[in-house]
């Protein structure tokens, strides 16, 4: 199992380089501060403390997880080529797609570990402080963690695609920062601007749905903020939740699509490269 051998080495390296520790601490720290500072406005009567945490944490995830994922992945191919380690690895009996898949499994495992542990600590802390938590909230929280990992997978795959296409590491980093800005900030602002100008005259609800599907961070946002009734009322998204035609399933498939397509394109670009 070549991909697993490579995945194991990537995880080993990530542990050594303190990537695992750093990203876990970062996510846990932010999740904990949001959990306790974030509940200040709702006061101690917050019977739905975990739902509030889901809203604030998923908004944070949209910024942070793509950034961490791109940081890990942007130099996976072009960086190893520049350092020269790819030259030796490819002289071994492995196919290039196996190298890519192995790295993907490894990097995603690191990200999944950091997310589950970091966010899990926040939920555990809420339970420990005696907040009552309903089972529907727990389901929504678990779905939030799962979809956060999936969002990470999307951006790891996008990072590989950039890494497989560009000539040097600096360019890869630049392009990834640009993509991050575009998908996390600019796209939504532009969309909001268009919708505000249009006032609902020309753009139908279906068109809005389509535009949301074109950005993986919006898919993630919709999934977490509208997917669960208990959460959407806090998120101020109840209105959108009623008009959107996109079910949770469709949104998950969209995220999977956003992972598989860039990953496949990265494998194709990598297989054509010369070292």
């Amino acid at each position: 199992m070549n991909p697993l051998i490579i995945a194991r080495k990537e995880i080993h390296q990530a542990v050594r380089n303190r990537w695992v520790l750093a990203s876990t601490l970062l996510l846990a720290g932010l999740a904990l501060s949001l959990t306790f500072l974030g509940s200040a406005p709702t006061g101690t009567v917050g019977v739905r403390a975990l739902d509030v945490v889901i809203v604030s944490l998923s908004s944070l995830t949209i910024f942070l997880i793509p950034l961490i994922a791109l940081l890990i992945s942007h130099d996976a191919i072009v960086g190893d080529m520049e350092r020269g380690t790819m030259l030796l690895l490819l002289s071994y009996p492995v196919a290039r797609w196996q190298v890519l898949l192995g790295k993907f499994i490894g990097h995603l495992a690191v990200l999944a570990f950091a997310t589950c542990l970091g966010y899990g600590i926040a939920a555990a802390a809420l339970v420990a402080t005696g907040s009552p938590i309903g089972s529907d909230s727990l389901v929504a929280f678990a779905a939030m963690i799962g979809s956060s990992v999936l969002l990470g997978a999307v951006f790891v795959a996008i990072g590989y695609l950039v890494s497989a296409l560009v000539r040097d590491r600096g360019t890869a980093a630049g392009v990834c920062i640009g993509l991050w800005l575009l998908l996390v900030l600019i796209y939504d602002m532009a969309l909001l601007g268009i919708l505000a100008v249009d006032q609902g005259r020309n753009i139908s609800a279906a068109a809005v749905d389509a535009m949301l599907l074109l950005n993986p961070t919006d898919v993630y946002r919709l999934f977490n903020l509208t997917g669960f009734a208990n959460v959407s009322s806090f998120a101020g998204m109840a209105g959108l939740a009623q008009t959107t035609l996109l079910s949770g399933q469709v949104l998950l498939i969209a995220l999977l699509f956003w992972t598989v397509v860039p990953l496949g394109a990265a494998a194709l670009a990598f297989s054509r490269r010369e070292l």
Partner: protein, 306 residues
């Protein structure tokens, strides 16, 4: 003898740069082949082509039954490669690196780890590769190339950065492998080292193969003179021995030494004259053309015909 590597009419262009042009050769089992040429002559390009890291512009390549350009890699389990300036992941230790590569080749990990002692990495094997000196990285690079029982070894400048003692060990190891049937292709600038060991020499110049054969064959082709050094007693300065045929190119090196350039067919005749009765020759050294001189000759020849 069956071929393990076949290169047929291979050409590789990088944009306008013609790195390799119309080169063909076959390497057989048990051959220890020296690939020599100046920087940029196409040595590394040839190795990369054999590994499928790059695809030929024209021509075909076969390595252990695979076509590397088509992404076939089954045979690579039996192939060892040491790149020029080997780089390894800095965060892992020598042992971890070696174990990783052994797993990729489906080889026994403890056996692969024992190779670390063979190359003299020993105690340093538990340290991170990031802390290694150039020589230690080179040792680890060699150790990974030797994993398993390679049928083909491609070594790009393997002895740079190795101390003389390890060089000896290294040549012992690859000579043993070659004796057991491994094809060893090694490129190097250390021509004197290769001279005694290579069973065959391929000389590249600007991407073109200019010579290919055993050192003896190359000497025959090149027809370079053998140098005969004579220690002669009782010669006055400027005087040459009377038995020396007129027109034989020779020079005085110092008070006692005379050096004669002997064409291959006149070598025995001259030696005979020098050692016959009545001459005052005290000592004789016969120096056949070295690989350095052969190399220089073939390059000059290639440049003139180009």
């Amino acid at each position: 003898m069956s071929s393990t590597v076949r290169i047929a009419d291979v050409t590789k262009h990088y944009g306008h740069v013609k790195a390799v042009r119309d080169t063909s050769f076959e390497l057989g089992e048990g051959e220890l082949v020296a690939l020599i040429g100046h920087n940029g002559a196409g040595k590394t390009t040839l190795m990369k082509l054999m590994l499928g890291l790059i695809r030929p512009t024209a021509g075909s390549i076969e390595v252990l039954g695979d076509n590397p350009a088509a992404g076939e890699f089954g045979g690579r389990r039996q192939l060892g490669y040491l790149p020029e300036n080997v780089s390894l992941d800095a965060a892992l230790s020598g042992r971890e690196t070696q174990a990783f590569y052994a797993r990729l080749k489906r080889e026994n990990v403890p056996k692969a780890l024992a190779l670390l002692d063979t190359v003299g990495l020993g105690a340093a094997a538990r340290r991170r590769v990031g802390t290694y000196s150039k020589g230690m990285r080179q040792r680890l690079g060699l150790a990974q190339a030797l994993i398993g029982h390679p049928k083909v070894l491609l070594l790009d400048e393997p002895t740079t950065g190795l101390d003389p003692e390890l060089r000896q060990t290294f040549y012992d190891v690859i000579e043993r492998l070659a004796a057991e049937g491994t094809t060893v292709l090694l490129s190097s600038h250390a021509l004197t080292e290769l001279e005694e060991r290579a069973s065959r020499v391929i000389i590249m110049n600007r991407g073109v193969k200019v010579a290919d054969g055993s050192i003896e064959q190359l000497r025959n082709i090149a027809r370079l003179p053998t140098r005969i050094q004579l220690k002669v007693a009782g010669l006055t300065p400027g005087e040459l021995p009377s038995w020396l045929p007129a027109g034989a190119p020779c020079r005085r090196l110092n008070g006692h030494l005379i050096e004669i350039d002997a064409a291959p067919e006149r070598k025995l005749e001259l030696l005979h004259l020098a050692t016959s009765l009545g001459t005052s020759v005290e000592d004789v050294d016969v120096l056949p053309p070295t690989l350095d001189q052969l190399y220089a000759h073939f390059l000059r020849h290639a440049e003139q015909t180009a």
